[in-house]
């Protein structure tokens, strides 16, 4: 079978590659919706730097995607089954370390081809079926699974007092983290801290929101989720250290390209726990699907953060989607018609 793969070859340049693929045990998935992540944008705009770009490209972008099964050589998946595709691809088992932290694991759109393909050959443990979630919303399941991974880590490591949890960052990750925390911990006071005033209007489900330069001095949180990333990571983490109670846990989710200076003196003094959260695995996707299938209000809220849906019929539409995404407040999703 010849498969068309839409690969980034240089900054803002995507072309079609034709792969001669042989189906062995894989499930064949035809993507229906793909979603652009900041990581994809960093490649698309060339901000990963020359060295990384030349090392990783050409490569198909996108690691957030859903589709339906069009072929299963083993007949285990019914044709038409709607599935979310898992970008993390482990090559070994480890009883202690989660699959998304194993250095040997491969990750879609970071070293090997992402989901911008006509059909995607997926390992049968790399797809999770869903039923009552609209495809357009389901494309955010990957992001939700990342939050599920962070939540599992948080629950394993944080102490039991969870009266107040702060979330720094009011972008996509901050939104989904806040939503999940508020639904799963209804008695916890969930507070969102952010820079963009207009984005705060999207958070009516949390208890309070603050712009980061006007936080009351006496406000304290038991634990915090850092969902800022980028250049803002440093300020966010240090502000969290200022406002968190002793022995609190800081779940770090934001990705930064450069090293971050942290006030370790106060980390030591307060006895804080900093937990690194990155990507997600099969169990996190299962948890994400379960959460979204169970909570209709979460499905509605998640749909709200889709800033724009763009129909993709060819490469010019893909470029348009990436360009628009740079100006969108929240997510840009691509209805994949290629």
């Amino acid at each position: 079978m010849i498969n068309e793969v839409y690969r980034l070859v240089a900054r803002k340049q995507i072309h079609t590659d034709f792969l001669d693929e042989t189906i062995r045990d894989e499930v064949v998935v035809r993507p229906t919706y793909l979603s652009i992540c900041a990581a994809d944008q960093r490649y698309y705009t060339g901000s990963r730097g020359k060295e990384i770009m030349s090392e990783k490209l050409p490569m198909a972008l996108i690691h957030e995607g859903v589709g339906h099964v069009i072929y299963d050589p083993k007949g285990e998946f019914k044709i038409g089954t709607r599935v979310v595709m898992i970008p993390n691809t482990p090559v070994e088992d480890d009883v202690i370390i989660k699959e998304n932290y194993l250095p040997s694991s491969k990750f879609r759109a970071s070293g090997f081809d992402g989901f911008m393909q006509n059909v995607v050959l997926m390992g049968r443990d790399r797809v999770v079926p869903y039923t009552c979630i609209p495809d357009r919303t389901a494309v955010l399941l990957e992001l939700l699974s990342v939050v599920m991974n962070a939540l599992e880590n948080f629950e394993l490591r944080s102490h039991a007092r969870r009266e107040t949890i702060g979330i720094w960052g009011n972008g996509n990750l901050g939104f989904i983290s806040a939503l999940v925390l508020k639904i799963l911990y209804p008695d916890t006071r969930v507070i969102v801290f952010g820079v963009s005033r207009h984005k705060m209007q999207f958070f009516p489900f949390v208890d309070e929101t603050y712009i980061i330069d006007s936080i009351p001095d006496d406000l304290r949180v038991d634990h915090a989720f850092e969902c800022v990333g980028g250049n803002g990571s440093e300020d966010a983490i240090n502000q969290i250290i200022d406002y968190i109670q002793p022995q609190g846990t800081i779940a770090l989710l934001g990705v930064s390209e450069s090293n971050v200076n942290i006030n370790t003196r106060m980390v030591l003094e307060k006895g804080l726990i900093l937990v690194g959260n990155s990507r997600s695995g099969y169990a996190d996707f299962k948890a994400a699907v379960k959460f979204l299938e169970k909570n209709s209000s979460a499905r509605e809220y998640m749909d709200i953060i889709i800033s724009e849906e763009i129909e993709i019929n060819g490469i010019s539409d893909i470029n348009r989607a990436f360009e628009h995404d740079q100006a969108n407040d929240f997510k840009t999703v691509m209805k994949w018609n290629v």
Partner: protein, 233 residues
Amino acid sequence: MIYAEVLAGGKGTRMGNTDMPKQFMMLGGKPVFVHTVEQFILSEKVDKVLICCPKQWVAHTNDTLKKYIKDVSKVIVVEGGNSRNETIMNGCSYIEKTWGIGADDIVVTHDAVRPFITQRIIDDNIKSAMEYGACDTVMEAFDTIVESTDGEVITDIPVRKHMYQGQTPQSFNIRKLVNLFQELTEEEQNILTDACKAYVLKGYPVHLVRGEAYNIKITTQYDLKIANGLIQQ
């Protein structure tokens, strides 16, 4: 039911001492027609795939298929005809004899030597044939088309924006297609090389489906070289 007819009627060109039709030549790691058939096997909407090929190549086609494709339960190799239309009709006759023809049954006819067909093109064909009864896959013409009826001088240069290049698939409501061919005189049948043209001549609409520039037809050694150059193992 939705059927695909993969038209593998090419008689071949001389390769060394043996005639080898293009559809059986290697493209990447598989013969050309295997790539094409695989796309129809993958399509969840297509119920059966008929490969229509010359009589002497039926056994070869069957054996080659089994060598490259694990599950061929959806595929049947049938004997083609002397012309493109006869081949299509042979396929339709096989469908009629084996399963009968339902009022809404669709046939997606496609050149075996166009292996770059995509799921999107197959889907769009099925959708359009179901809605309108007949459709043709085309690309906007990039080159100016020049008409010459005597091969010596230009008789016309049609407006380019009205010109399209025909690809395949061409897809039809089977019952209507069969009825239309029965309406044609023998002379008309001999002249018409294209099923869609029969529709147009009889005044029936044929809708356009967007093709792809890379949905190329491999008819020469040059095409095969280009196709092999395009794909990566």
